[in-house]
C-alpha cells in the first residue's frame, strides 16, 4: 500500500474531550479514511462536515467502536482508548445517536432506555416502576420531555430522537455524537433539537454533530472539521469562516449557483393535471395542474402522503380512487394505464429510493438504462435483445449524463450514490418525457451531484418543456427549484404560492400550523 505524504495535521491547542489521530480505514480497494484527524474541545459543539462518501459515518463508527480502524489512535479526555465493541465505547462515556434509530418500536420509552443498561440490577425481573421513574427523572433533568410510558411506535420522529438521546444520557454519556440528526426532522423539530443540544452543552457535555447542511453548522457549532475524500482538510474555529468558504472546502471547488430561469407563460398548455385524487386517510389531492416547462415542488415531512402520491402517478400502486378522479397527461388519461403505457405516453419517474426502486444493483449499467424498454431485433420471427445497439447507445448516454466511470458493463452497485442516481436520471430523461415525477431526487447525494441533478431537472423543464413535479422532503431544494410550491400535510395537498416564499411559512405549513 502506497502512503501519500499528508500536509501537517491541523492543530487545535486545547482538545481534551476527544481526539482522533491519523485514523485510516480501507474497505477493499476503497480508502474510506486516510490519516483523518478530529479534535473536539471539552464542552463545545463541534461540527463534522463533508459530502456523502467523505468518510464522516466511517469516522463516527470507528469512534463509537462499531468498526476497527486500520491505523491511528483515539484519545478520550487525554487517555488513549481502544474499543473492542460499541459497548466499550458507551461505557467510556460516548453516546451515539445514529441516523437510523435503534429502538424497539413495540416497547415503551422507559423500557427502551432500560434496554441500554447491562447492570446486574436488571437481572431476571424487570422493575417497570423503577425504570419509569428513572426515565421521568432523566427527562426532567435534561429538559427532554417525553412520556416514559408511551410506546415508541406511537411517537413522532422528533420524539424518537429524544428517546435515543435519553438512552445515551442514561448511560452516562459525556460526549454525544449525532449522525445527521436533522435529516428526518421538520424545521420546528430541528429548532427544538438544537435548543436541547445547546442546553446539554451548557451542562458541560461535549457534542459532535455530523451534517452536510451548512446553515446547521453555523447556527449550532463553534468549531468544525471538514472531511473530504477521507482526509481532514480543515479544522478549527468557525469564527471568520463563511458558509461559502466551508462549501468550497467540502467539495474542493465552487458550488454552482442555481439560475432557475423564467417559468412558462400563463397560456402554456397543461402537462399534467390531477383532480379529485382521494384515498381515505392517506392522500387527498383536490386539484393540481402543472404546465409544460413548469416545476411544481411539493414539500412536506416524510410520511405525509408523498410515497402514495408518487406511486399513484408512477402507476406502481392502484388504490381504489373515486370515479370522478382524473389523472391527465396532456389530454391522455393515465387512470387505467399500466406503468409501461404511462412511460409510452411520456411520463418519467425518478423513484425515491434508487437502490430499492431505481436500479437493479447487480445488473450492468446498460441493462439498467434499458429497464423500461430494451432495444430489440427480430430473428426467426422472434424478438431478441439487440445487445450491440444497447451497448453503443448506453455508452453515449453515460457520457452525455457524465456518469463516472462510463463503463457499460459495470454492475450498478459498483458506482457511487451520485453516479447511480445519474444512471436513473439518464434512463428517465433521455426520452425527453412530457412529465417528470421526481421523488427525493437528491437524497443522500453530495453537493456537487445534487447540483447536477438540479440542473438536469431545470433543463428538462426549460429546454425540452417537460412539466416537473418535484416531491421532496428537502425544503431548500423545493424552494430553490420550484416555480410554484405546494405542501403535503397528512395526505392533503395545498398550493402555497409562487417562487420566493419565506422558508418559515412553508416550514409551518409542513407541520400543519398554517
Amino acid at each position: 500500500m502506497k502512503v501519500k505524504v499528508m500536509p501537517a495535521p491541523p492543530e487545535i491547542s486545547n482538545c481534551p474531550a476527544l481526539r482522533c489521530v491519523s485514523i485510516s480505514k480501507r474497505f477493499g480497494f476503497i480508502a474510506a479514511l486516510c490519516d483523518a484527524q478530529l479534535c473536539v474541545g471539552s464542552g463545545t459543539v463541534h461540527a463534522l462536515v463533508g459530502e456523502n462518501g467523505a468518510g464522516k459515518s466511517t469516522l463516527i463508527n470507528i469512534v463509537s467502536g462499531m468498526i476497527k480502524p486500520d491505523g491511528g489512535a483515539i484519545d478520550l479526555f487525554g487517555e488513549t482508548v481502544r474499543f473492542a465493541s460499541a459497548r466499550d465505547a458507551a461505557n467510556a462515556g460516548l453516546g451515539i445517536v445514529h441516523q437510523h434509530f435503534l429502538l424497539a418500536d413495540a416497547m415503551t420509552v422507559a423500557e427502551n432506555i432500560a434496554l441500554g443498561h447491562r447492570t446486574s440490577s436488571l437481572g431476571w425481573r424487570f422493575d417497570r416502576k423503577k425504570s419509569e421513574a428513572d426515565a421521568a427523572r432523566l427527562a426532567e433533568e435534561s429538559g427532554l420531555n417525553v412520556d416514559p410510558k408511551a410506546r415508541v411506535h406511537d411517537l413522532p420522529v422528533g420524539m424518537r430522537q429524544r428517546v435515543e438521546i435519553l438512552k445515551a444520557l442514561s448511560r452516562g454519556a459525556k460526549i454525544l455524537l449525532l449522525d445527521e440528526p436533522t435529516a428526518v426532522l421538520a424545521p420546528p423539530e430541528v429548532e427544538s433539537l438544537f435548543n436541547t443540544l445547546r442546553s446539554l452543552r451548557d451542562s458541560g457535555r461535549t457534542i459532535v454533530i455530523v451534517t452536510h447542511k451548512l446553515d446547521e453548522v453555523f447556527s449550532l457549532a463553534s468549531d468544525v472539521t471538514v472531511l473530504r475524500e477521507g482526509r481532514s482538510v480543515f479544522a478549527g474555529s468557525l469564527r471568520g469562516v463563511t458558509p461559502a468558504d466551508l462549501a468550497e472546502k467540502m467539495i474542493g471547488r465552487h458550488v454552482p449557483r442555481i439560475f432557475p430561469g423564467a417559468p412558462p407563460s400563463a397560456a402554456t398548455p397543461s402537462a399534467l393535471s390531477i383532480s379529485g385524487v382521494k384515498f381515505p386517510g392517506r392522500l387527498d389531492v383536490e386539484d393540481l395542474e402543472i404546465k409544460s416547462g413548469e416545476i411544481v415542488g411539493v414539500a412536506g415531512v416524510e410520511g405525509n402522503g408523498q410515497r402514495e402520491l408518487a406511486a399513484i402517478l408512477a402507476g406502481t400502486a392502484h388504490p381504489p380512487l373515486p370515479l370522478s378522479a382524473t389523472l391527465l397527461l396532456g389530454t391522455t388519461s393515465l387512470k387505467e394505464c399500466s406503468v409501461r403505457e404511462r412511460s409510452r405516453a411520456g411520463l418519467a419517474f425518478i423513484p425515491g429510493d434508487r437502490h430499492l426502486e431505481g436500479l437493479v444493483l447487480d445488473m450492468s449499467l446498460t441493462e439498467n438504462l434499458y429497464l423500461r424498454s430494451p432495444a430489440l431485433t427480430r430473428a426467426f420471427g422472434f424478438a431478441f435483445l439487440d445487445h450491440a445497439a444497447m451497448r453503443k447507445r448506453s455508452g453515449e448516454l453515460l457520457h452525455a449524463f457524465s456518469v463516472h466511470p462510463p463503463q457499460q458493463e459495470l454492475p450498478a452497485h459498483a458506482l457511487s450514490g451520485g453516479n447511480q442516481q445519474k444512471v436513473v436520471i439518464a434512463r428517465e430523461l433521455h426520452t425527453q418525457p412530457k412529465v417528470i415525477v421526481a421523488f427525493n431526487p437528491t437524497r443522500g447525494l453530495d453537493v456537487g451531484a445534487a447540483a447536477e441533478v438540479h440542473s438536469r431537472l431545470l433543463s428538462a423543464a426549460r429546454d425540452t418543456h417537460a412539466g416537473v413535479l418535484l416531491i421532496s422532503s428537502d425544503l431548500d431544494e423545493v424552494l430553490a427549484l420550484s416555480d410554484r410550491i405546494a405542501v403535503l400535510y397528512r395526505g392533503r395537498l395545498s398550493i402555497l404560492g409562487s417562487r420566493g416564499m419565506e422558508k418559515s411559512v412553508v416550514g409551518r405549513a409542513m407541520v400543519g400550523a398554517l
Binding site: F27, V339, S343, L356, E357, L361, A383, L385, H413
Partner: protein
C-alpha cells in the same frame, strides 16, 4: 473456474478421507468410482442419461432462482409428469399414442411437462394468493405428489399394472426408448438443446431480461413497468415443465413407472448442480455430468470397493454448504445492499 477446480479437488480429498476413515483403500475406491462412471461404455451411458435428467431439473431450478422464486419442488413436479406419462403411455391410450412413431414420444414428453408445470403453479398461485413461501410449499407438494402416485400405483384401476404391486404396466412398445442407460440414446441431445435454449432465453430475449430483472430487484422491475407477478408465475411454470419433462423422459427410458424412484433425490441434487453452475445455463451440463458420474460411480464403488453408496449424499451436502458459504447472489441480496451502503458511507 479455479474455484470449481478447488471444489472438485476438495470433493475427492474428502471422499478419500472418508474411505480411509472407514478402513478401506482410498485409491482403490476412487479408481472404482472413476471406472464405474466413465471407464466403461455402460457406465458412460448411465452417466450421460442421468446427467441429462439432472440438467433438465437444474435448468428449471436455475430459471426459478434467477426469477427470485426458490422453487425446490423438482422431485414432486417430475413425479407428476412421470405419472401422467405412465397413464397415457400404457394400455389402450398407449397403443393409440404409440401408433404415431416419433410424435407419440414427443406427445408423452410434452404432456408430462404440462402436468409438471401445473403442479408447480399450485405453489406459484399460493405464493401470489396468500404469500405462501414457495420454499415450503414446493417441498410439501413433493410429499403430496409422492403419496398420490404411490396410491395410484397400488390401485388396480388407476396406474397399477397387471400382476405387479406398486408398479405401472409397461409402456406401449413404440414409446419405449431402447438402450437408455446402456448405450448413448440420441434423445439425450435434448439436454444440450434445452441448455442452449435456456441460455438464449435468459441472455437474449426480452422475457429473459425481464425475468432476470425481476429476480434481482422486483421493486425496481415493477417501477420500470415489468409485470412482476406474471413473470414469477411463468418461472414456476417453466421450472415445473422442465421437471415434468424429465419425469416423463425417465418413464419412457425405463419403460414403466415404479414406486421406488429411479433417480432418488435428483431434484435436490439438481439444486447443487444449479448452484455450482453459478446459475448460468451453459455451465449446467458439465456440472451435471460430474454429479451424475459421482452417483453412477458410487454405485460401482459400493460393489467393488465396499464403500457405501450413501457417501455421495454426504459429499453433496458438503458441496452445497461450501457453495452457500462462498455466497450465492440470490441468497445475499440483503448483504449486497448492506455492502453498497457501506461503500457509500
Amino acid at each position: 473456474m479455479l474455484w470449481l477446480l478447488l471444489l472438485g479437488l476438495g470433493t475427492l480429498v474428502i471422499l478419500a478421507l472418508i474411505v480411509q476413515l472407514s478402513g478401506q483403500d482410498p485409491r482403490g475406491a476412487l479408481d472404482a468410482l472413476w471406472r464405474g462412471a466413465f471407464g466403461t461404455s455402460h457406465g458412460l451411458a448411465a452417466t450421460a442419461s442421468r446427467a441429462v435428467i439432472l440438467t433438465f431439473y437444474a435448468l428449471g431450478i436455475l430459471i426459478s432462482f434467477r426469477a427470485g422464486t426458490l422453487n425446490i419442488g423438482a422431485e414432486g413436479q417430475s413425479r407428476a409428469g412421470a405419472a401422467l406419462a405412465a397413464a397415457i403411455g400404457t394400455g389402450a391410450a398407449g397403443a393409440t399414442i404409440g401408433s404415431v412413431p416419433v410424435l407419440g414420444v414427443a406427445f408423452v414428453l410434452v404432456a408430462g411437462a404440462a402436468v409438471g408445470a401445473l403442479w408447480s403453479l399450485i405453489a406459484g398461485w399460493l405464493r401470489q394468493w396468500r404469500a405462501v413461501p414457495e420454499v415450503i410449499s414446493t417441498l410439501m407438494l413433493n410429499f403430496i405428489a409422492f403419496e398420490l402416485v404411490r396410491y395410484f400405483l397400488s390401485t388396480p384401476r388407476l396406474l397399477q399394472g397387471p400382476g405387479s404391486e406398486h408398479k405401472s404396466d409397461y409402456m406401449a412398445e413404440a414409446l419405449r426408448l431402447s438402450g437408455w442407460e446402456t448405450r448413448f440414446h440420441p434423445i439425450l441431445l435434448l439436454g444440450v438443446i434445452a441448455t442452449l435454449a435456456a441460455h438464449v432465453f435468459l441472455v437474449h430475449t426480452p422475457a429473459g431480461f425481464a425475468l432476470r430483472a425481476v429476480g434481482s430487484n422486483a421493486k425496481a422491475a415493477q417501477t420500470c413497468g415489468m409485470a412482476v407477478d406474471r413473470i414469477q408465475l411463468a418461472s414456476f411454470a417453466i421450472a415445473g415443465a422442465l421437471a415434468g419433462f424429465a419425469g416423463a423422459l425417465g418413464v419412457l427410458g425405463l419403460w414403466h413407472l415404479s414406486n421406488t424412484p429411479t433417480y432418488p433425490d435428483y431434484g435436490f441434487m439438481a439444486i447443487a448442480v444449479a448452484l455450482v453452475a453459478d446459475l448460468k445455463p451453459l455451465r449446467v451440463l458439465p456440472v451435471a455430468v460430474i454429479f451424475a458420474g459421482l452417483d453412477v460411480g458410487a454405485k460401482s464403488m459400493q460393489g467393488s470397493a465396499g464403500v457405501s453408496y450413501w457417501v455421495v449424499h454426504l459429499i453433496e451436502g458438503l458441496i452445497i454448504l461450501a457453495i452457500l458459504i462462498r455466497g450465492v447472489h440470490v441468497f445475499e441480496k440483503s448483504s449486497l445492499e448492506a455492502g453498497a451502503s457501506k461503500a457509500a458511507a
